[in-house]
Subunit: 197 residues, 4 copies
DNA sequence: TATGAATGAGCATTCATTCAT
DNA sequence: AATGAATGAATGCTCATTCAT
């Protein structure tokens, strides 16, 4: 009987190592060797878990997306206004984890130009998020069935726009500033924001 | 007498070739060989105009930024509302040229993690744009001296947020939708939009 | 009590798997992984039966040679002319099994340049076969003690020469053509060929 | 103007280096690095002249074939008997050059199982040689139009059979023995051999 | 006995870069 | 100014091999 290893766990560890590297030093630094070393393994082990680099990158992106999704607050028992606010705040790069997710996303967006599979993953993740936000907007009374998509697009635009500026101007956007601009925009759009966390 | 070549023109051509490749196939495709070939030259010629790849990428980014700046409408004789609107619309990837600029920007952002010079170029460009938008917001009466920075940040967030969604979901954001969402947001924020182009 | 496995049988199965791979896809395809998989096992099991790849290849070659030897007709009660003919025909790649043996032989010959052990195995097998054919030639009256080696060399040359052409020009040498050329040559050399199998 | 290099000459040099390596140490030793080093260059230069290893191997084989063909004596003014004899002797591995050609041929035959292009090159070369020998056999009166193919096959079989034995039993087949067996066979087949070189 | 995780050297190939011309 | 030959380091990947289980 061989050494028992949780294959999915190992893949997750390796994908996370890749994400750290991408966030820290850019996508060009995320070579097979470096990713393996970051995870404390060797190249041979890496290719044991991922057929090739493309699969590693795709998995890294999908794992990062899944991680973000899993951190949404539980729907049951939370008022939709709080859910919506938390979801949009969740899109801001206010801590290392969220910053890392944005760096992975940006890197994959740049890569997606020559990689349909990556482009698909991105499109689908976006559609899912837009649908989720649209549902919440309706629950909050911010949108009707007919304009949910545009309202969601607007809300997401606000959060993503702040995120992009934070990414483009590191140091200029501490967490508080990000949240303040988001809250003021949401207030303008009619979402009453009560004090939080 | 040696062949007279406009050095700056050649550099611009090469930088533009690099930008096309980045937009078309991602940053990994923009190798020295490919960039040279895209411009109809050979590697040797490329290194004649750029000391190394880093300089090529930096120049490509700065050229793309300068190109965007140069397309702002002339300040003299244009009402500030129109200038502001045009500037924000100019940030949307509504045509091939603007799309290319965004792809270059995204690629450089991803690269900037490991490249301070690129990060600087990005920061400075953003600061300049934010200042320009802040001034216009004050001219329009949308902001006071005291809150110009936050108002500018909000306005840019709206435009960039739409841009990011368009980039992440190619095909889902035709030019008209981008403009419509932008205009509706600006109206909410108090900028009266008159019919245009 | 551990599972009882016939070690020699397993080695033979693995060597045969290696031979199949070599014949089917060339020697480069016969990696440890592929050989193990072809035999329905894993690499770990393969290295259990063979110290290293070199031993596997050597065993594969020797097993293929032994297999060919074991298919010589029984000497007792068979006229030497029939024995000689059958032995020479046995060298022709007229069926899958013999084709496989030739492919293994060729692969090992190519490999033997850098592998003295392989070269030895080849030399010895050849010497044994030449001796056997020489003895039969004398029994048939085709050779004296003094010229048995040269007569044997001549006879083997004919068979091997046909074999090589068949290998080099797959499709152009159906079994019948191989046998016909061999028989006509043997007739010229004085061996009367009677109808057979 | 760049350094002027005769591209075809360089390719020939590299292919010859590959052939030397294959003959000396087997095909596994003919890695890109080793071939480049054997030719006094580096890997990068090798890939400058050959797109990939497959092209290098194919070229090496074809160059070896062409080299053999180019060493046939001039047809004009030579009696067909001498031409035929020289051609068949040319197939024997009696010197380093011919030995090398045989090793390359054997290696490619082994490789051809998984490489149609290599198999094609082999087939065509064989067909050409068989046709050439058939024509000479008719010119010598050894064959009619109807049986030229079979006579050629027989003649080639004799030479190739000797060659294979020489390859399989290095040291046991000095040039004189190879020629002696060939001549005796040809005499049996009706070709009068006059004294030669 | 057999597995498969892990290693690390080695592979073909690509790349930015240099330089004689 | 421009070429393209050549370099050598680095890349993604494969391989034989080892070993705890």
């Amino acid at each position: 009987m061989p050494k028992v290893v949780d294959v999915e766990l190992r893949r997750a560890e390796l994908a996370h190592a890749a994400a750290r590297l991408i966030a820290r030093s850019g996508i060009e630094a995320a070579t097979m060797r470096e990713v393996a070393a970051e995870a404390g393994l060797t190249t041979g082990a890496l290719t044991h878990y991922f057929a090739d680099k493309h699969e590693l990158l795709l998995t890294t992106f999908q794992a990062s997306l899944a991680r973000r999704r899993s951190q949404r607050p539980p729907a049951a028992g939370t008022p939709p206004e709080a859910l919506l606010l938390a979801s949009l705040e969740g899109a801001l790069p206010v801590d290392d984890d969220r910053w890392m997710h944005w760096m992975v996303t940006i890197a994959c967006c740049s890569q997606a130009a020559g990689d349909p599979e990556l482009a698909d993953a991105q499109s689908q993740a976006y559609a899912e998020f837009a649908g989720y936000i649209g549902d919440l907007a309706r629950a909050c009374g911010l949108a009707q069935r007919s304009d949910a998509a545009e309202v969601a697009a607007t809300l997401i635009a606000v959060a993503d726009g702040i995120a992009v500026q934070a990414l483009f101007h590191p140091g200029g956007w501490p967490a508080e500033r990000q949240r303040a601009v988001l809250h003021s925009m949401l207030a303008t759009l009619g979402l009453t924001v009560t004090a939080r966390q």
